[in-house]
Subunit: 361 residues, 2 copies
């Protein structure tokens, strides 16, 4: 976060603004830190690539010790498989991609792990396994309070495990949790009851996966867990700072954006709006932290305009100034760019395609 | 909006879900309707391509009578120029793209119209004009209440016009407004005062541009306007329905999405979350209107999960059902896809690349 006037000059001349820039030194520190936390908790590290969508960075995570990766969409898994990654967990129910034939195609190429919380998904996975002539390994998603996807009782989890056990084109892989921050004791109860039920079927959960970057606070607190999934920690953001799991010096991605209008003394406009930052506030005030003007606010966005409130700034930015913004929610912001400009020691070193961006299916 | 079970089947088999589908029959009706409204108001039609980002659709708008197009970013203009479009207004201050050299490159290829509200932008445009050996035509952005970009007094507009007049690499093109819905009388006052000041310099505004799809209610009410810019009207959305300028039968774009989880009777999950719909609510309740289940709500989104509240539905969707959602704000949703699947009469007819998507600079 040192003065980087020359880097700003290089970036605007080579790429223009807005530009998504990652500091590789911070990225590597964050990758190592996550690995160390997982190692310390004696858990395998299965980072979620939804944050960066870059095979280059996924391979960097594996090299640092990750056992495999997590993807949210089959399309992301396709991109990562092309890069040679062999251990992939898809952490959502796949239906649209299964019915399009793409699940079978990827399963033919490599054995996937996919989560499910219902018999319809299981039926489609079995169809894909049969078509691929290779059983699909299923991890049952269990909900312990997010009220998102996931079975809500241990009995349901065991019933799905029985369906998997009885189908030659499915294999039981284990259980997946995304516990609420305060929901780890309840998750322990759910896991224990489910493992009891599985034992009566003669089944053991090889994988017991926990997830979430804010949940790094709780990592290791689930007795029986085997691995953890964290996405955001590779870059961090203003939300992770607010959650108390990152500091400003841990934030690897900033948006370089130009001040393009200062129509009145109290306000201005950035050339990055909701098509850059998305309208995701993450529950915070405004849309990002401006490093050069921490007292400035970004209270509102139009598609290509970031509204700037500089009324509290002692020194106010001028038209033409380039500023760096730590976004509120980095996962959705990286997803708006086709490439990330990687820098190290204030010099541009690499352009990383956000290769799995737009892989919505 | 007829029953389209076969089309759903075709879409999921060919593309999977989520999938962005446009009904070309509605698109053509909407294009014709906008042209007719502009014709009736005796204004040129300069549609904003930010909504579709598709050269195919821009050419369709020109064929129906549009005088030219509006772009928000230089990158969008580059894509449209490649498609052979010759009359392009860039409706934002360009600074990052100017300093990267791309403005000069495009200006060398064709004469652009670009807006500005400050002398810094004018200086960069003049540099580009000199480099391109072709003066840049500048339209001065005037703010009459949005508090976004734009000079806030007629005197400032006239002062910028004088700078343009005095620079051999700039040409004065006119004035651009984006009036608030209720701000048209104030805009008239601003325009009249500015034209008075311009007259004293011996300058005439060839272009006086108004903008906005909700402002189609007011089209023609600015005496002296020469053209109107409307983007959203080509597709329409739930916001335009709420604004009273579109009906459900005018909404051309729907997201086809699968129900992938129904963990409890009152709720479910769609395979389209904030990386499909963006978190833009447009001030409305929930994130879209589900055509098959209009009483269902989408109260919340995770990145790849659309939360579904079906507690008020008489008939509840099942896991595996494909539903069609009219998004709240279509401009930001089309921008999340690499392609739009175009249908007519319930059959797939064309795949349209969202060619200018991701053109953030």
């Amino acid at each position: 976060m040192t003065n980087n006037a020359q880097l700003k000059q290089d970036i605007i001349e080579q790429f223009g603004t807005p530009c998504a820039v990652i500091d590789l030194d911070i990225v590597d520190k964050n990758i190592a830190h996550l690995q160390a936390r997982c190692d310390h908790a004696r858990l395998a590290n299965r980072p979620h690539i939804k944050t960066h969508k870059s095979p280059v960075l996924a391979l960097r995570q594996l090299k640092a010790g990750a056992i495999g990766i997590t993807c949210q969409k089959l399309g992301e898994a396709e991109i990562m498989a092309e890069a040679g990654i062999k251990d992939i967990l898809i952490a959502t129910n796949i239906i649209g991609a299964a019915r399009s034939g793409r699940l079978a195609a990827l399963q033919r190429r490599m054995p996937l792990k996919i989560c499910a919380d219902n018999p319809v998904s299981l039926g489609l996975y079995a169809d894909a396994g049969r078509a691929a002539k290779r059983p699909v390994r299923v991890v049952i998603e269990c909900d312990t309070g997010q009220k998102r996807a996931g079975v809500v009782t241990p009995n349901e989890a065991v019933a799905l495990a029985k369906i998997i056990q009885d189908n030659p084109w499915l294999e039981f892989g284990g259980l997946m949790f995304y516990p609420p921050i305060s929901g780890w004791p309840a998750t322990q109860g759910f896991l224990d009851a489910t493992e009891g039920g599985l034992a009566s079927l003669g089944i053991v959960a090889d994988i017991v996966s926990t997830g979430g970057t804010p949940n790094l606070k709780n990592i290791g607190q689930l007795n029986g867990a085997t691995e953890h999934r964290s996405g955001t920690s590779i870059f961090n953001d203003r939300m992770m700072m607010a959650a108390g799991v990152a500091d400003i010096t841990d934030c690897a991605l900033t948006i370089y954006t130009s001040v393009v209008s200062r129509a009145e003394d109290s306000r201005g406009i950035l050339d990055a709006g909701s098509k850059t930052f998305t309208p995701d506030t993450g529950g915070l005030d405004g849309f990002g932290l401006i490093l050069e003007h921490p007292k400035a606010r970004i209270p509102k966005m139009a598609e290509e305009h970031g509204f700037l409130d500089v009324s509290n700034c002692n020194t106010k930015p001028s038209v033409g100034d380039v500023v760096r913004v730590i976004p509120n929610h980095v996962c959705v912001v990286a997803n708006m760019f086709d490439q990330l400009v990687a820098v190290s020691d204030n010099a541009i070193v690499e352009i990383l395609p956000v290769a799995a961006r737009g892989r919505l299916v």
